[in-house]
Symmetry: C2
Subunit: 236 residues, 2 copies
């Protein structure tokens, strides 16, 4: 059974850039129509092509955005707490372009799309936040496209690892944040190809064992990867 959002969850949402600057009354309006739901792993939350009835927010767990065509399927992104997904479809009132499934046990807030659009028209701060978030999303996908079109799979993996290292506590030793098969799909390659790419990176000082990644010295890796904020910096 879906439940209303608790005080605790509301304040989690309120901290998001998307909701932090809006008026209390408008935030309350959104919360009144919102539901929270717990999902087990591997549940398909939304399917591409369906009408976009809800803006989703991941509170706990993680969600994979993916897309299919013909017999193939590819991972587009992984969404982690606390962030929203499917904002563009909600705003345009257009069908979802991607499907979403839980990767683990997850807690999701559902905000009716019609409420989001209504509040957008009433609250200038919210409108600005929505447009900023959308612009962010847009730039994120542009970078993903550039990554795919301008780099080989080995270069994509190298850059992915460098980014992971930069955001982890210890840049010389950390864990892969997602399963290898999903990483492969995200990077636009097969699991077998990823396996071989991982081996190939030993030449560049990268040691991967299971989920654990060791990069003692990233000099060679960086020479290969040539990272640039115009592709690799998510906040740029």
């Amino acid at each position: 059974m879906p439940l209303r959002t608790s005080q605790n969850e509301s304040s989690e949402l309120r901290k998001l850039d998307l909701f932090s600057d809006m008026e209390d009354a408008h935030f309350e309006t959104l919360m009144r129509g919102a539901y929270v739901q717990n999902f087990p792993p591997a549940i398909e939350l939304i399917s591409e092509g369906e009408p976009s009835d809800f803006l989703h927010v991941v509170i706990e767990g993680s969600v994979e955005l993916f897309a299919g065509w013909s017999t193939r399927e590819t991972t587009m992104a992984t969404v982690r707490p606390v962030s929203t997904f499917i904002l563009a479809a909600t705003i345009k009132d257009a069908p979802y372009l991607m499907s979403a499934r839980t990767l683990e046990k997850s807690r999701i807030v559902l905000l009716p799309s019609s409420d989001v659009r209504a509040v957008f028209d009433q609250d200038q701060e919210f409108a600005r936040a929505v447009v900023t978030e959308l612009a962010q999303c847009y730039r994120h996908v542009v970078k993903h496209s550039k990554n795919l079109k301008l780099r080989t799979s080995l270069e994509r993996l190298a850059n992915y690892l460098i980014r992971c290292a930069e955001t982890s506590k210890d840049p010389t030793l950390f864990d892969l944040p997602i399963e290898k098969r999903r990483l492969a799909s995200f990077l636009g390659m097969t699991p077998e190809n990823l396996s071989r790419a991982i081996k190939a990176l030993k030449e560049y000082g990268v040691v991967i064992n299971g989920q654990s990644v060791g990069i003692a010295d990233d000099t060679d890796l960086r020479r290969l990867a040539k990272p640039t904020p115009l592709i690799d910096d998510p906040s740029h």
Copy 2:
């Protein structure tokens, strides 16, 4: 020398979805700061990484959006009149992620980014239009990514041609809207590979001579291409 926009050009802009619903006073504000400029072909209007000082609008001609990394370069999109480009960078006040160059003699309107952001905060209709346009752009790039990740180059070409056919006066005979080498780059392949893909499509009833494309019967082509609005319909 850059010139102020003429009455004629202003009314062209006013017809765009982005500007059509906003208040006259706010539109005037935008126009007061606007410049129009004519450019010869092959001029680089903006370079990726630069700060985004202007929102651009193509009035006449055509503009290629492209991106580079290391020694490689790829075409991301072609912009035709009358439409804007680089809206996301303008809104976020972030560096351009793509470069732009004129493909032919072109007439471009430049709107100072700061003006666009200021009017966004004052005009609710404009804000709504911006967000709709941004959502549209976002979905466009998502489709581009799906196209790249889920399809082979032959399938991408097949779908491209089907889309061209659908939007042309005579679906059985039309011209390629862009040069083959740019088409190859846009579709994420080399010119040589495109040349061979074109040959391979003869099997599916497609005859290409120079710029001219003939598709007497698209049954076989569609069986190969499996077009879907979730990738191929730009307005979906």
